[in-house]
């Protein structure tokens, strides 16, 4: 057999390569007239990327029909929905932001959004918003999406703290389920009665993980104690110094509640308390609207009910509101199309569908579609009407973490309310000054 030298083989490969390149070049030149028209039509079609943090399977069920109808209405805009789970959301978001690859429309939480806004990565949507949308969003929610006087986030998911209770355990404890506690004193008395007269604990409490969840719990009760906002949105600080005694009273209330809880509060998460209430091991719980998913059958049968959180010294049954929302990054090359899609998502029907993922109503027009004479919806809509925005700034994660750690110490009875507040104030001061 004749041997082929490596030089011959190399020249054959080069020749074959050149022929391929020439053929490809000719191919792209030929047949232009027909393809040109098709490609110009394609050029007009813009594809935008959309990402909603959460469970992909559930979110696709909600958003796929919305995207389909949007694409029918706007045939020149295609939407590519991408998935991002909560577990790695924060790290992924920061990496995407650093590489300027954030999707055209995205959902996330204000802490990260405001931090990115500080770095010039988020589009100010103030000028995009029409009056109809501004007036339709509840004021406290709209405010929660603002930072530095600008609307960086359009709220589309929100949570208030609500009071959930087991009517059967109420009756066993000699309490009236039709008149749930409306003040802190009544609430403590109910927790005590359930603990003493039934096999269940009075109230489900959670202290793990230290961070946003427990901080939100404290902030909501504190808002109810002072009857207003707990956060100075201009100085980006909590209003503890101005309301020192109210903050101590709130912390003492939390510590007192702990004695009627299921125990081991520091290793109990917000998810755990939902199971506890469902299983009847606790009589009451303070939790967001997500509780409904766990106890839906009981809510339907009347075993469980929801009410607004009890009022502190102010006499107002109000909660802080925790918000997430849509934003458009500055790296988006299709901002107009992105806004068109975002605005479409905020239509009443679409937002209502989105709220089924686990949110209180965001739009007044959305709330109007519910029967407010139904105690469930009546309570939920009242809670958003009476809510105050939760304090958020780029340093919020650090502030929440510190508050959460101090609340754990309080709930473990390792320190009193006054020490807890002093530690929170001192710790926050350090973070503000960093």
């Amino acid at each position: 057999m004749k041997k082929i030298s490596w030089r011959k083989m190399l020249s054959c490969l080069l020749a074959a390569g050149m022929v391929t390149v020439m053929a490809a070049a000719c191919g792209s030149d030929s047949g232009d007239s027909g393809a040109d028209q098709a490609s110009s039509a394609e050029e007009e079609t813009v594809t935008i990327t959309f990402m909603r943090t959460g469970t992909p399977e559930v979110l696709h069920e909600i958003f796929d029909p919305i995207i389909e109808s949007f694409e029918e209405e706007y045939p020149n805009i295609k939407v590519d929905m991408q998935d991002l789970g909560w577990s790695d959301a924060e790290t992924t978001l920061q990496v995407m932001a650093s590489s300027q690859t954030l999707p055209d429309v995205m959902y996330h939480l204000p802490v990260s959004i405001f931090d990115m806004a500080d770095k010039g990565l988020i589009e100010d949507l103030t000028s995009y918003m029409d009056d109809e949308l501004k007036e339709d969003i509840y004021p406290s929610l709209l405010e929660a999406g603002q930072y530095d006087g600008k609307q960086y986030m359009i709220p589309c998911g929100a949570l208030t703290l609500l009071y959930w209770y087991n009517t059967e355990l109420f009756e066993q404890a000699g309490l009236d389920p039709d008149n749930p506690p409306a003040t802190w004193d009544e609430f403590l008395a109910a927790a005590k009665a359930i603990s003493e007269n039934t096999d269940a604990a009075g109230i489900a409490m959670y202290g793990m993980p230290s961070g946003g969840e427990t901080s939100f719990f404290f902030e909501s009760l504190f808002a109810s104690e002072i009857g207003g906002e707990t956060w100075d949105g201009e100085r980006y600080t909590y209003e503890y110094d101005e309301n020192r005694q109210a903050a101590i009273d709130t912390l003492e209330f939390i510590q007192e509640l702990t004695q009627y809880s299921q125990g081991a509060v520091e290793e109990t998460s917000r998810f755990d308390i939902r199971t506890m209430l469902r299983d009847g091991t606790v009589g009451m719980a303070l939790d967001a609207v997500n509780m409904a998913n766990q106890i839906q059958d009981g809510l339907d049968s009347g075993q469980f009910r929801v009410a607004q959180i009890p009022a502190g010294a102010s006499g107002k049954q109000m909660s802080a509101v925790n918000v997430g929302g849509f934003f458009i990054p500055t790296n988006s090359e299709h901002k107009e199309e992105a806004w068109t899609f975002l605005r479409y998502l905020m239509n009443t029907d679409n937002q209502k569908a989105h709220s089924t993922y686990g949110s209180i109503p965001i739009l007044k027009s959305e709330a109007e579609t519910y029967d407010t004479s139904d105690p469930y919806w009546g309570t939920i809509i009242k809670s958003v009407e009476d809510s105050v925005p939760e304090g958020v700034c780029p340093k919020t994660n650090s502030l929440w973490n510190l508050t959460g750690e101090q609340l754990q110490l309080l709930m473990m009875n390792n320190q009193d309310a006054e020490t807890t507040l002093d530690n929170i104030i001192a710790g926050h001061e350090e973070i503000y000054n960093e």
């Binding site: 924060e90 790290t91 920061q94 990496v95 932001a97 650093s98 931090d115 990115m116 770095k119 990565l121 202290g207 793990m208 993980p209 230290s210 961070g211 299921q262 125990g263 081991a264 520091e266 290793e267 109990t268 755990d272 199971t275 506890m276 091991t281 780029p394 340093k395 994660n397 650090s398 973490n401 750690e405 101090q406 754990q408 110490l409 473990m412 390792n414 960093e434």
Partner: protein, 291 residues
């Protein structure tokens, strides 16, 4: 002449891919860690400006020193537990017994289970409200109220126990490989001389095990210092920072506080500690080779 030249280049060509990989995978990130630690840095913008070693000041704060203390307890207790359990199980499995092969396979399971999965599993097994262990103990009337395994004062021992569970298989595998190389005639000879089991361990088994035991212990120590996922999932560093390991501190600084500079300063400290361990390991190997 030509052949000589190509022979001279040949070894370098072979190691070139490794060098390129080393530069991209290790040297570049390492350089960045040092760079970020020297100034105000965050993940989105990278290095912003020099800040006069301000990031390293955090390493002297009581908050960080507490984390360092927690990590020291976690590493010392975890590694000691792994060495003791590993040695006991390896010695037991080295004896002839029925189903020895099956047991040898079973003991490596904790090592092959992903850390995140293991952490979630243990969290559920140990949960004070719904956990299997508490339910079992309650049904057997051994306890009247649930034990809080991840609570005040118990969380650190619990995560140490999980670390021992995870790390022991590596020690077992390492030691069993050596135990099988001990010549049987030496063991028989010392038995004929009337040596007790303790004497046999002291004069035969341990001298054989020592080099591998040293190396495996150092490797386990370096791994344990870097543990993050298991503890983060089980306790997130709580309650009240009782299980706040240095690795969790690095994560929190970078992704919660958006302070990459301080996060990198802590990472450098860990790098130095692990580097010292690596150096000791290297010296140990050299001594064994020389011997």
């Amino acid at each position: 002449m030509k052949q000589k030249g190509s022979r001279r280049i040949e070894p370098y060509l072979f190691i070139l891919p490794t060098i390129i990989l080393f530069i991209f995978v290790l040297a570049v990130p390492l350089f960045n860690v040092f760079k970020f630690s020297l100034g105000d840095s965050n993940i989105i913008e990278g290095f912003k400006e020099w800040n006069s070693f301000e990031n390293f000041e955090y390493l002297t704060t009581p908050r960080f020193l507490k984390s360092l203390g927690v990590t020291a307890v976690y590493v010392v207790c975890g590694v000691t537990g792994i060495v003791v359990c590993g040695m006991l199980v390896a010695l037991a499995l080295n004896k002839p017994m029925p189903l020895r092969g099956l047991f040898r396979s079973i003991v490596i399971i904790p090592w092959i289970v992903p850390h995140a999965f293991a952490a979630s599993m243990w969290s559920w097994v140990l949960n004070s409200q719904f956990g299997f262990i508490n339910q079992l103990l309650t049904k057997l009337n051994l306890i009247s109220s649930p034990i809080s395994f991840l609570s005040d004062g118990t969380a650190l021992p619990t995560v140490i126990m999980v670390r021992i569970w995870q790390g022991t298989p590596f020690m077992i595998i390492s030691l069993m490989a050596v135990l099988q190389t001990i010549p049987s005639d030496i063991e028989e000879a010392i038995e004929l001389d009337g040596a007790s089991a303790i004497q046999k361990s002291r004069y035969i088994t341990l001298p054989y095990l020592r080099p591998v035991l040293m190396t495996a212990t150092l490797i386990i120590t370096a791994w344990t210092i870097q543990i993050f996922d298991t503890v983060y999932i089980m306790t997130a560093g709580g309650p009240a920072r009782q299980t706040q390991l240095v690795a969790i501190e690095i994560y929190n600084k970078a992704f919660i506080d958006y302070d990459l500079g301080t996060s990198c300063a802590i990472a450098i400290l860990v790098f130095i500690i692990v580097g010292i361990i690596g150096f000791i390991k290297f010296k140990n190997e050299r001594m064994v080779e020389d011997a």
